[in-house]
Symmetry: D2
Subunit: 280 residues, 4 copies
């Protein structure tokens, strides 16, 4: 039996997938790009990037309120300084002289279960809690049962706890916006109930368990109807510019092949300033 012949034999094998497959995202024709049916050139200038992201992922245009909310969600996790593992992975690739996209890819790989992946865990945690509500418990009772479970398992509830912050300003702002935009749903109400229960029972945990931004994104994303995977994906989109900014800064400000010690960093950027009241 020779090689070419063997290739023919293989073709005779039943294939593990049907010959034709479907995609519902984008239709390409000469001089035409339809994203979920909308010409992309008509979307440009009429939709913000966050709204276009919602359309692509969810299949329909968002309401203006959802668009504002998603913009805020994406802004919330834009960057968190030099210490996250994702940022350090990106900077270590940058110091080797690799292309910027390689730094970004390495940074994305560092969004593991302990770092960003918490969003999916928290969405599942809340959905489990809501099944208690469906079964007849009040939101308060469900929240207490959820915290009981965590205490018994000696586990930090997903979406709670932070290395630096005791009150995460991003979480508070997201909930305030959800309220103002009338987008607060059952996931946000449940996580806020869990937050209150934890405040009472904080002595049962061996570390502080404030609500963190992952928890807030998880609750808001779940209320907006995102799939678990897409909850994590929203975090990826939010964080990408931060990875880019650090990789770029590493390339233009630092010498190549240095040993990067996160504790030795000094911030030398702008002092604190105020965002103008109303712009867009």
């Amino acid at each position: 039996m020779t090689g070419p012949a063997s290739t023919v034999d293989r073709r005779a094998q039943p294939r593990s997938d049907p010959a034709h497959w479907q995609s519902a995202l984008t239709a390409i024709a000469p001089n035409s790009i339809l994203i979920r049916g909308y010409p992309v050139d008509e979307m440009m200038g009429r939709l913000s990037f966050a709204e276009a992201v919602y359309l692509l992922l969810m299949g329909e245009l968002p309401t203006p309120a959802i668009g504002r909310m998603l913009n805020a969600v994406l802004v919330s996790s834009l960057d968190h300084g030099v210490t996250p593992p994702s940022t350090l992975a990106a900077r270590n690739v940058a110091t080797s002289g690799a292309p910027l996209k390689d730094s970004v890819a390495a940074g994305i790989l560092a969004f593991g279960p302990n770092h960003g992946g918490d969003i999916e865990s928290c969405m599942r945690f809340l959905d489990n809690g809501l099944s208690l509500v469906r079964a007849g418990k009040s939101v308060q009772e469900a929240a207490e049962a959820m915290v009981d479970d965590c205490v018994r398992a000696k586990a930090t509830p997903p979406g709670f706890g932070h290395r630096f912050h005791t009150r995460d300003p991003r979480a508070a702002r997201l909930f305030q916006m959800a309220l103002e935009l009338e987008l607060e749903g059952e996931h946000v109400r449940l996580i806020r109930a869990v937050e209150r229960v934890l405040d009472v029972r904080k002595a049962d945990f061996d570390r502080p368990v404030p609500l963190n931004v992952d928890g807030a994104i998880a609750a808001v994303s779940a209320d907006l109807g995102f799939a678990y995977d897409l909850g994590n994906a929203i975090f990826l989109i939010s964080r990408l510019p931060g990875l880019i900014a650090h990789a770029h800064e590493e390339r233009v400000r630092q010498q190549p092949m240095r040993q990067i010690d996160p504790k030795d960093e000094n911030y030398d950027g702008s002092p604190q300033r105020k965002v103008p009241e109303r712009r867009a």
Copy 2:
């Protein structure tokens, strides 16, 4: 000599980098995250994601016009269907059952010099052309000299040519917006001059050389003052949601470990529809 001793010896070596290093991006303190000096919770709800990206990468808030322009740039390359190598790399990783972020990272790695990297090449191409203008040539003369160089080198000008489109609707829309928003600068003017010269001299090329969206993004990004690296980075940000959407669709609609043949795809999504006139 033993291992532990040798470690001490190494410490005595001069290190290749100074003990302290600087970053100007983000200052983290307990319950405070300042991005370029602005509290991120104040940015949320006041800046669109695109405006926040500009702030992080460039150091200052954009004008509202620049904010609108950058939103349009980010929307322009959101997705291009199933055939780009980046999309296929992402789908092939997804079919192995790997986490969504792994698909995304693989897709990003496929933005090589021939795919997205063209933006940096085009920015350099335009800057070289502008140095002719600085040296006394008119924009028209510079454009002709630039095309001459490409013909001599038998090279497609960076930012021109496309596998599918003969008139890229995204490029046209970006230039129209640049004009309307009064953001048209010397890079856009030069690339449009090159486009006109190419239209006359298309017979000198062995493939169609319409302006493509990479060229339009390159010219607009250069006029906005982005560094070369950041021109490519804008494309990464724009394309990330498309990679996510394809990886997610692969996971939820297709069987695992299939052989992905881009020619066998059928679009089964929404028929063409119209974006409502004015929303945001």
Copy 3:
């Protein structure tokens, strides 16, 4: 509050990790590199690469028999043609003009749970089976119970089933070598018992369930004492040269930015030939 001050505040926070940490792998001193205590320059020429890999991962030199076995394991999965998702991910990155290492990284990302990750699943499957043996069952009884569980769960047993092969020649060869080298241990004995049970009960499965090379590597790796993670890692090492070869061939033989359809490939390499009897 200003940025720099906030940085000082952060330093005052308790850190989540102790200041010092340990590694037992490699000691570096000027002009000295000790891997697990051995000078690397003394290892060169005295250890095969496979033996050095064993030393690095396991901490001690392998016996010559283990060295031969590990060389065979690493050769077994060197390449599997153009159709695996890992190979297609690597080729799709290569066609974009990205550096070779980017293709390789994307290929590695495609070794998800359905592709290579099966080795870890099979090691766990066998360890669960052996716990039945420890509890008093015979190997035959344990194998029957393991198959029963899979039939009940309508699941293919990890390490069994293949898209192309009905009798995987690599698995047979690995077991023959394990026998000859007197390295056959309880994991190999158990998986062979499972293989025999499956042969009798093949009608209970809706697809053929021959033992595959992942199963054979899993059993051999477990008998050699590798951790679950390292079982997968052995597969990565084995497969890396194949990813490199395909990425390199894509770069030198194919035009850039092509659409890669695995079904359109024709093999045009050497016809079948015989490995000389005894070389090394």
Copy 4:
């Protein structure tokens, strides 16, 4: 125009690649895997992994001497402790809880031009030097001209200089083996001449410029006939087990989400020991 229709239109477009394409690496048929024509099950047990790698990349079986040399090359760069950027990228991904393969992929991305990529640069540097020899210069004169060029450009010659070592023990051992195995060719002879010239002219450089292991691998790989890309690839294969070992150690010995500071590491492995004289 609707989406589905547009897909048909696209099919009518001329495709940028021919329908059929070729690969000369591996032929797969049911129960048969031929790598470069050799049944992989016959290779197992008869070829070392390094020899099989040579076969796959180069198309023919290596001589036993080349097999021994390639084993030594692959052993030479197995690991270099915790400080290289590739190792730190891998460890930072591991601390996020991501799968081991993700750590490995991130580590590979850190083999940029300054880190491993130097092998390709050095191969090109030597080939340029050899073109001087072809044009009539002696090896000594070529080496002097090559060093002159570097001094003029204030550049460190590719393959020379190291962060820690003043005399790289791996380079010395590779050259000794090349001599003993009668594999020393013109690239090794030229780089040794450059080494001697640099020893005399070291005052012309602002840092020590000892030959490093990248230079030695470059010269040996070039003498063995590897393409530039494959020179870098050999380094990837060599280094992969080190990335795996560090990612695995991070996962099993360290707590998650820690800040990894390379300066805080202490080696706590085996003290120095001697490789037994003759094993394989």
